[in-house]
Amino acid sequence: MSEAVIETRSLRKQFGNKTAVADLTLTVGPGEVFGFLGPNGAGKTTSVKMLLGLVSPSAGSGRVLGKPLGDVKSRARVGFLPEHFRFQDWLSAREFLEFHGRLYGMPAQKIRSRSEELLARVDLLDSAERKLREFSKGMLQRIGLAQALLNHPQLIFLDEPTSGLDPLGRLLVRDVIRELREQGTSIFLNSHLLSEVEVTCDRVAFVRRGLVVREMALNDQTAELEVELKIGPATPELLAGLAQFGRNVRPLNGEVHLQMDREESVPALARWLVGQGVPLYRLTTTRKSLETLFLEVMGEDERPG
């Protein structure tokens, strides 16, 4: 397996008496779209800042693109869209991209061609000569995204990339993420919009009070597969037999519900029921939404109010 693009071990950040990040241990693989989820104040932004070298960790270690955190040269292969994007607003959109291209050390010709390409990609070609101070929040976010893509990054950090965008803008970001994934770019996505994360990410980590409490792959959510059975009488023996296929077997509203570990076991379950001579009227499988999972993982105490 290729080297991880992000690898951290027990990263911790303390601001005085306050622990912003208690223990950040995670790995992001090459080409992976990784969602970093958690409520406000969970330490997500501080974690991103540590990975980017903006904030120095109080303890622990980490590597980004195989280099220690904060390594200057490796930043040439990293892109970043900050959550609170405040840019040089006296520059025009084109000048802004050219300036950031120079910071990346790109040749002038390359900066020009890449800027044109990205202005078109984020639908700002018509506003290329306008000053950023005249831009709406959504336009600023899009030019910020273009800035983060200038250097064809190998790894890109997107901190709440759709927070200021209308539905069309969100669709644009989603398409950009999809394109980046196809190109093999690794993406570290920090977002509150779980529906966005659900359709774009390969894997997510839930962070609560500065601690990664759970990591899971979104394209392999078998652990959260809920099976509903409409069958004949649910005898205790039948319920005990169903337990071999999953857990949390329970009668509910005239049906039997259980959670299965593997989707591949569903046909075997159906065969077993038929083999047992149990009338099977309906078998449905559903997955929990990311929002449901998020609420479960975070617990009721993280709910505001």
């Binding site: 070298g53 200057v72 930043r75 040439a76 970043f80 120079r102 910071l103 050390g105």
Partner: protein
């Protein structure tokens, strides 16, 4: 080095776009026009009085005094610009988060500090050269008075501006914009008072006051640099007569120049180290 130059370019560009350069240029030219008109009026009336030997001290007093008054005003404007231009550049961008998009690029943090310093330094020095050169040229054009030893005086004023600019940049790596401004102006005020205490004490032969002045100059040598520049930019005969407020009774030593250069280096080293360490 590329990072330093890119940030310096950005700083110059920002000053241009925010019309800092335009306003400074227009007001600078207005200042020179008023100075020229005043200079002509005063030196013309002084010469028509017809007193004194041509080229003697009486003939030199008016142009020397007016030239030094002009240089003093230029020096003060340079001080204001040196403090105010960069006072918000790091503190403000750190507070707003704008700095994040810069320091996550493949450049060292020191490049951000040094690039901003370089950009503002170029503006400040350009302004100083334009204004002090304007004063000297006006004086020569209107009365054939040559401001003495400009080649020593102007570099001293440049060093003073550089010192205050560096303090303002360094303060911004740790303090908020307002606190930074208060700190640098407070230090300048301290040097100003200390410098005059030293001059008056030297006239009265009060050694305790002189020591106090030297001590304040060590704390921040800006005023000492002005007094040294003023000493060099006056004709010796006018200076020795002590008949203008710009004739220093106590001349700072050349050691103060070395101290000031070391001061700038230490302050900028602090700025670079502090900015490299801080969480953004």
């Amino acid at each position: 080095m590329n990072g330093v130059l890119t940030i310096a370019w950005l700083t110059l560009h920002e000053s241009l776009r925010r019309r800092v350069l335009l306003v400074a240029l227009i007001l600078g030219l207005a200042f020179l026009a008023i100075f020229g008109a005043g200079f002509y009026a005063v030196t013309h009336s002084a010469s028509t009085l017809g007193r004194g030997v041509p080229g003697g001290p009486q003939q030199l007093i008016a142009p020397a005094f007016l030239s030094m008054a002009g240089m003093y005003a230029v020096n003060f404007m340079v001080i204001l610009m040196a403090v105010l231009m960069p006072v918000d550049t790091l503190a403000g961008e750190m507070r707003s988060g704008a700095i994040q998009s810069l320091v996550t690029k493949p450049i060292r943090r020191s490049a951000v500090v040094l690039g901003k310093w370089l950009g503002f330094w170029l503006i400040l020095m350009g302004y100083l050269l334009l204004m002090s050169g304007g004063i000297a040229l006006t004086a020569f054009a209107l009365s054939h008075y040559i401001v003495p030893d400009l080649s020593t005086g102007i570099p001293l004023l440049m060093l003073e501006g550089t010192l205050l600019l560096s303090l303002s940049i360094a303060g911004g790596t740790r303090l908020s914009t307002l606190t930074n401004g208060v700190m640098v102006f407070g230090l300048y005020g301290l040097a100003f008072v200390g410098g005059w205490v030293e001059q008056v004490s030297a006239l009265l032969g009060n050694s305790a006051g002189s020591y106090l002045g030297v001590l304040s100059s060590l704390l921040i040598p800006s005023e000492a640099l002005w007094h040294l520049a003023a000493y060099h930019m006056q004709p010796p005969i006018v200076r020795d007569l002590g008949i203008t407020p710009f004739s220093p009774a106590s001349v700072p030593s050349d050691g103060m120049v070395l101290w000031s250069i070391g001061y700038v280096l230490v302050v900028m080293t602090y700025a670079v180290v502090q900015f490299a360490r801080c969480d953004l």
